[in-house]
Every structure is written in structure tokens, then in C-alpha cells.
């Protein structure tokens, strides 16, 4: 793959990315969040079409790649999420869509025999008749790979295969990778866990901002070199950081535990402060914000608002206590897209718009118009559907609907994802305005520069734990990435 370009609605995901894979090697593809690793591999797997650049397979241009065609020429892409039918057996999954047949009927015996052959070739002890549902996560992943092998894949792409695995399972996966390598197959390996690389990687390619930065043998790198190449991006954009007088602690989390990705989290946010939460994708940042807001269940731990313990069991509680959340996925969690701008703007505030549950229409319209004007939401009327707004304006509406309330702490989860530069600056300005009003702000972002540019203090998470805290002065990209990759479990 050479000089690949790809942009999604104006945003460049790849601009000059290159990658090559030889038979019998494990080639690790590294880069920060959003560096374009997954996009590049999806182009190879046919899931995404490139804008320009060349792809050669065994020296031949395969033409336009579709998932089907990529499979036919021996490329297998396993996704971060497992996509198997959990109520079918292992053998049934491996041959899904290409079931062996006899006289036009399913030949189950042959399917099981073929599946056994493949699994034995992988040195795996899995019964092809067992249901996928009954297998451990790592085993399910292996079945995905077995599925790829059944199509005789020469090139196997593993996108963060270890992110959900326990140490023992990782061990099993690595053994299998060695087996596949020995069979002369090439393996492209995406991972954030740099310490894993020493066990499997032969070569390493680093991407940054969609560009190819460096390709070398793994042995020629030091870990620090890899990190600095990953982040070595210059901060060019200006962020409108403002200083506000620090007030008392408005929100405090004490020993919060919620699921696998929120483990023993304690931190404080003060009035007039932006607390950045940095970390890699899957570090548990979104889970933390949802647990604080009551959207997900907390196992243990407490939330304090203005120093008093607040029982937050649901978003209804959170809203009453003055905690609000601008969620990461605005289409799924933020907006009722079938409803109008007016109806979305007033939805959390209906209790403020009249008595006895009756909504006074005039007040509702005023609220919606005020929101639209204050945030400069571009729409011809407040009666337009929320779905008709552009991404940036939708995001402003999701933020704006909370501004009528007297909040103590506001949590922004990736508020600038997928919106244009102008809208980003407007979101930063809103955050600054709220900060000056004495609201405590928690700011989750995967963009290093943004989090460095806007935060007064940065908390770094890895694997559901807080691995460090940096002040605005001491924070650098290298320090954040170092803290963000401090995984507990070292693979063997």
C-alpha cells in the first residue's frame, strides 16, 4: 500500500500512508488515537474505499477492493469487535455463507471435518460442534481467525486483538500468531500495548495524522523512540485557554467502581477548572463519565457534589444534583433526531417551563430561540428537525440544551469529535464561558493537542484505572502517552 489518501466528509483520515507486508512476518502498525491505523487496514480489507494511492497484492493491482474481493485474494480483516453468530456452532460460523453441500443439502459432517483440520493447523483445542456463545472471548477471536484461514488467507489483519483479553489468553493468541507466521502467512498487527511488541513484532510502522512516519525492524527501535515518533506532532493550532479563579471542589468521585473499565477511580473537579481526562481508546473514559452521570450502574463508590454525598442512580438524579453530561455519541445518546430543535432544546428543561407539568409554549419557544442565538446554531427556524442540522450544530444543540439549568459540573465527552474547525472553537469558547461562570468542567478527549490546550489539569487513564495526573505546566504529549500505556498485565 503506497501513498494512500482518504478523507471522511472533509476531514483527512489518511494523507500519504504506506504499509507493506511480507510473507511470514508480523508487522506492527502503531500510532495515536486517530492516526489512521484502522482506516488504512479497512482499505486493505475492502471495508473502506481509498481516495487515491496504490495497493499491490503480490505485485499486482487488484482494482477496487470490496470485502468479498479482499477475501477472495487472501486478505482477512478481523475487527475490534467480534462478529460471529453466537448461537451457531464453531463449524457453522467458520463456513457461514459457504457451507459445504452434498446433493444441494448441508453436509454437516464435511463442515466439521474441515473445521477440525483448520483448528488443528492452528494448534487449537476447540470442539467445532460447540456453540460460539459458550467460548471464552479469546477463543471466539481464534474462531474469527479460523474463519479467515478457511478462506486460505495469506494476509491476516488483527485490529487490537488483545484489548479485551486476559494475560493467559494473550499468551495463547501469541502462540497462535507464531504458528501462522511459521506457515508463511503475513500478519498486520494493530495494538496500543507497546510492551507486547517485543514478543511478536518483526517490523514496525508508525503512522501519525494519517501519514507514514517510519518503518524499521523492531530491534532497531527503543520504546522511547517509538513513543516520540508517535506523538512528534507540533502544536500548531491555538487553543483559547482562559484562566478563571479556582473555587471549591464541586464534584468529587471517591473509589468509583463500575464494570471492567472503571476501577477504583477517585478525583476532584473544582469550580472554574477544566479537568482533562486523557487516555487511549478503550481506557474507560466514557464508562467513567457514564457512571458519574448515573447512566450506567456503579458497583461501589460515592459521588460528592459541593462536598455533600449525592446519590446518583440515574440521569434523573444527576440532573437534579446539578451534574450534566454531553455524551460522546450525539446521534445515539444526545439527540432525538425525529424531533425539532425546539423540542430537543426544551427536553431536559420542561420542569422549568410551567407548572403542573404543563408546558407554556411561549416560554418554550423563547428558551429554544435563546439557545439557538446564544450558541449561534445555524438553522432557519427552531421548528426544523434536529436531523437537518450539520454535525457541529447538532453538537451545539446537545450542549445548549443543558445551559438553561443551574449546573455545578458539566462533563464533555469528546465534544469536538467529527465537527469542523470553526465549530470546535465555538465549543471551546462555550467551555471557557462556563468555566468563568464557576462551573467545574470535565473534558474527555482523544485529541492530545486539544486536551493539552484546553485543560487546567489532566488525569490520564489506562485500562480502567487512573495512572497519573499532570498539571497544565508539566503535561506533555510524551508524558501523557507514557501514562496512557501503563498496562497492568504484562504479556509473557
Amino acid at each position: 500500500m503506497d501513498d494512500i489518501y482518504k478523507s471522511f466528509s472533509g476531514v483527512h483520515a489518511l494523507s500519504g500512508a504506506s504499509f507493506s507486508l511480507k510473507p511470514g512476518e508480523v508487522h506492527a502498525l502503531l500510532g495515536e488515537n486517530g492516526a489512521g491505523k484502522s482506516t488504512l487496514m479497512k482499505i486493505l480489507g475492502g471495508d473502506v474505499q481509498r481516495d487515491s494511492g496504490s495497493v499491490l497484492i503480490n505485485g499486482v493491482d487488484p482494482g477496487a477492493l470490496t470485502p468479498r474481493k479482499a477475501q477472495d485474494i487472501g486478505i482477512a480483516l478481523t475487527h475490534q469487535e467480534i462478529s460471529l453468530c453466537s448461537d451457531l456452532s464453531v463449524a457453522q460460523n467458520i463456513f457461514l455463507g459457504r457451507e459445504p453441500k452434498k446433493y444441494g443439502l448441508l453436509d454437516n459432517r464435511k463442515a466439521v471435518a474441515l473445521a477440525t483440520e483448520i483448528l488443528e493447523g492452528m494448534n487449537l483445542d476447540i470442539d467445532p460442534n460447540s456453540l460460539v456463545r459458550d467460548l471464552k472471548l479469546s477463543r471466539q477471536q481464534m474462531v474469527e481467525i479460523a474463519k479467515a484461514l478457511s478462506k486460505d488467507a495469506k494476509c491476516i489483519i488483527l485490529d487490537e486483538p488483545t484489548s479485551a483479553l486476559a494475560t493467559k489468553e494473550i499468551d495463547e493468541l501469541f502462540k497462535m500468531i507464531q504458528t501462522l507466521k511459521g506457515q508463511g502467512r503475513g500478519i498486520a498487527y494493530i495494538s496500543h500495548r507497546l510492551e507486547e511488541l517485543s514478543y511478536i513484532a518483526d517490523r514496525v510502522t508508525i503512522l501519525r495524522d494519517g501519514k507514514h512516519i517510519e518503518t524499521r525492524n523492531y530491534s532497531e527501535f527503543t520504546l522511547n523512540e517509538i513513543i516520540s515518533l508517535m506523538v512528534g506532532r507540533e502544536i500548531t493550532e491555538k487553543y483559547p485557554h482562559v484562566d478563571a479563579p479556582l473555587g471549591d471542589t464541586v464534584l468529587e468521585a471517591i473509589n468509583l467502581n463500575a464494570g471492567r473499565l472503571v476501577r477504583n477511580i477517585s478525583f476532584k473537579a473544582r469550580a472554574g477548572e477544566i479537568v482533562g481526562i486523557a487516555g487511549l481508546v478503550g481506557a474507560g473514559r466514557t464508562e467513567l463519565t457514564r457512571a458519574i452521570f448515573g447512566a450506567d450502574k456503579k458497583q461501589t463508590g460515592e459521588i460528592k457534589v459541593n462536598g455533600a454525598i449525592a446519590s446518583v442512580k440515574s440521569p434523573v438524579d444527576a440532573k437534579q444534583k446539578g451534574i450534566v453530561l454531553v455524551p460522546e455519541d450525539r446521534k445515539r445518546d444526545g439527540l432525538c433526531t425525529k424531533l425539532s430543535i425546539r423540542q430537543n432544546a426544551s427536553l431536559p428543561n420542561l420542569d422549568l417551563l410551567g407548572k403542573l407539568g404543563i408546558v407554556v409554549k411561549a416560554r418554550e419557544k423563547k428558551l429554544a430561540n435563546d439557545t439557538k442565538d446564544a450558541l449561534m446554531i445555524k438553522a432557519s427556524s427552531i421548528e426544523d428537525d434536529a436531523s437537518s442540522l450539520s454535525g457541529g450544530n447538532q453538537q451545539k444543540l446537545v450542549v445548549g440544551k443543558w445551559l438553561a439549568r443551574d449546573s455545578k459540573a458539566m462533563i464533555f465527552d469528546e465534544p469536538t469529535r467529527g465537527i469542523d474547525v470553526g465549530a470546535k472553537v465555538e465549543i471551546y469558547n462555550i467551555m471557557n464561558r462556563l468555566k468563568l461562570q464557576g462551573i467545574g468542567i470535565i473534558f474527555v478527549s482523544s485529541e492530545m493537542q486539544e486536551i493539552l490546550g484546553m485543560s487546567d489539569r489532566i488525569i490520564v487513564m489506562c485500562d480502567g484505572r487512573i495512572t497519573g495526573e499532570l498539571s497544565r505546566q508539566e503535561a506533555t504529549q510524551e508524558k501523557i502517552l507514557d501514562l496512557a500505556t501503563q498496562f497492568e498485565s504484562k504479556a509473557i
Binding site: A295, V316, A318, P327, R332, C336, L339, S346, G357, I358
Partner: protein
Amino acid sequence: MGKFLSRLLRSKSSGQVAIMAGFLVAMVVAFQMLNPKFLGERNIPILLRQISPFIIAGIGQSYVLLTGNIDLSIGSVIGMSCMASATLMSVKGIDPLLASILAIALSLIVGLANGLLVSSCKLPPFIATLGTMTIARGIAQLVNNGKNTGPITKPLSATDAAQIEAFAQKAQKFASFFYYGKFGPLYYSLFIAIGIWAVFDFILSNTATGRHIYAVGSNAEAARMSGVNVEATVIKAYVISSFCAGIIGLIQCAQSGQGSMNAGTSYELYAVAASVIGGISTLGGQGILIGTVIGASIWAALANGLSLAKVPLALQNIIVGIIVIISVLSDVVIRRRHD
């Protein structure tokens, strides 16, 4: 009225509603040409009385559909309310007013159960209300030991003629209020339906509860993240649906003057048809109640007009089915263009 019209014209569902209103007018004209008795002095009040229970059932179902769910128990709750009120009157000699209140209360319990099963226990609404549908029908059969009741005007508990006479008068009043009585040229049932529409249309368009119903149907997760109590909202919709069904049960009890175990059969589907013809989206979040009123009118007027025109019953069924499909199709096409 001007406000109402402007809201109607602004609403996204108005396209479908306008088309269906036009269709209703065209249908009425056609039936009138086929049989001049259709808009005769005698048929109009009867026609409007026939429409009333469809409007009421449709409004209840519309509430549930707007939250993105469905209520299959409506028909059985009608039967249960009909049998419960009739049994209380004809066997126990309980005052019709009290009997009505008890029958409605029983109906509300089913609505509450539906709401809890769907929102708190997270059962698929189709299955949950299929279950309560069967249970409610079972209760309808159980209350009078597996038999239809005798006439509500002659309670079995009454011992002497004076007592019977006094109760019969009360029961007559009940029958008159819900079915036989007229205000001017029109039957009371129509006014009951209009009253229910007015109240529930107000709730839907002017209260927080109404807005929550649209929000939950549009995107339940976003509603929850905005601090809406999604469970309570779904429960309210189901309780309102059962309330409407309970009222229809009383109307049917008044109509036949006795309790019938099969009362209300298939009403849940008529109610879906009325809602969908009137532009309520089965996916939730979209539609207005005036559409349901028009949909119910089309449904009932078809039945009335086709039988006046002496169309065989089998053909009537086929025509009605085709109209349901066409109306949903037009709705889908309109929305696709809107998006």
C-alpha cells in the same frame, strides 16, 4: 381553533393527515353516491356512534405506538371491563357508577402490568401484551363463571319488585349515557370520544408527559440521558391505553345491556389500523392524534358504508385490508421524501 390549525399545518405528520382527510371526504362522497341513505338523517348519528369506540381505542393505541411500543391487550381489556361491569350490576346489583369505576380500575391494573413488563422487565412489547391479552380474556371469562351475564337491568341479588324497578332505572341511565342517549341529534358516545380526544390531545401536545412520550419514541437513550424517566413514561402510555379500552368496555356493556365474554375481540388491531392510517409511526416518535381520529373515522365509515352498499362481508374485509396497506405505504413514501 386557529392555533390548532396552524399546529396541524406545521406538523410533519400533516402530509399524511391531509391526504387521509381528503381520502375520507372522497370516500364519504362515493358512499353517498352509491346509497343516498349514507348521509341520511338516520344514518349520520348511527355512523358517528359507530366511529366513537374506534377513536377511543385508536387514541390509546396511538399513545403506546408513539413510545415505540405496541399494546395487543386492548381487545381483551374491553372484554374484561365489559364483563366486570356487567357482572357487578347484573349479579351483585352494584350501583352502575361504582361498577363502572371498578371496571376501569381493573383495566388500569392491566395497563400498569403492561407498562412494568415492557419498561422495567424489558420484555418485548409484542410478547408482554400478548401474554396480558390472554390473561385479560381469561379474567373476562372467569368473572361470571364462564358465562355471559344476564341483563344488567335485572340484578339477581334483588329480592322485591321495587328494588328491581329502582335498579333498572339506574341501569337505564347507564345504558343511555354510554350508548342510547342523545344530546340534540347526536349520541352521547360521540361526545365521550371527542372529550377523550380533547383531553389526551392536550396532554400530548401541552404537557411534559406528552413531550416525554415523543422523546422516548424518537430516541429512548437520548431521552434517558436528558433526564427523562423513560420507564414512567412508558407505563403512563400503557395505563392510558388500558383506560381507553376500559371505557369502550362500558360502552359495549351499555350497548348490549349485558356482559359478553367476547366483547372487544380484535379491537387492538382496529386500533393499530386507525393509528397507522392516521399517520402514527409504528416506530414511535411521530404522528398526531387528529390523524388517529381521521383514521378511526375511515375505518368505521368503510364498514358502515360498505354494508349499506350491500358489499359482501368477505369483500369488505379485503377492501379494508388494502386500504391499511396503501395508507402505510403512502406514509412511508412521504417520510422518505421528507428525510
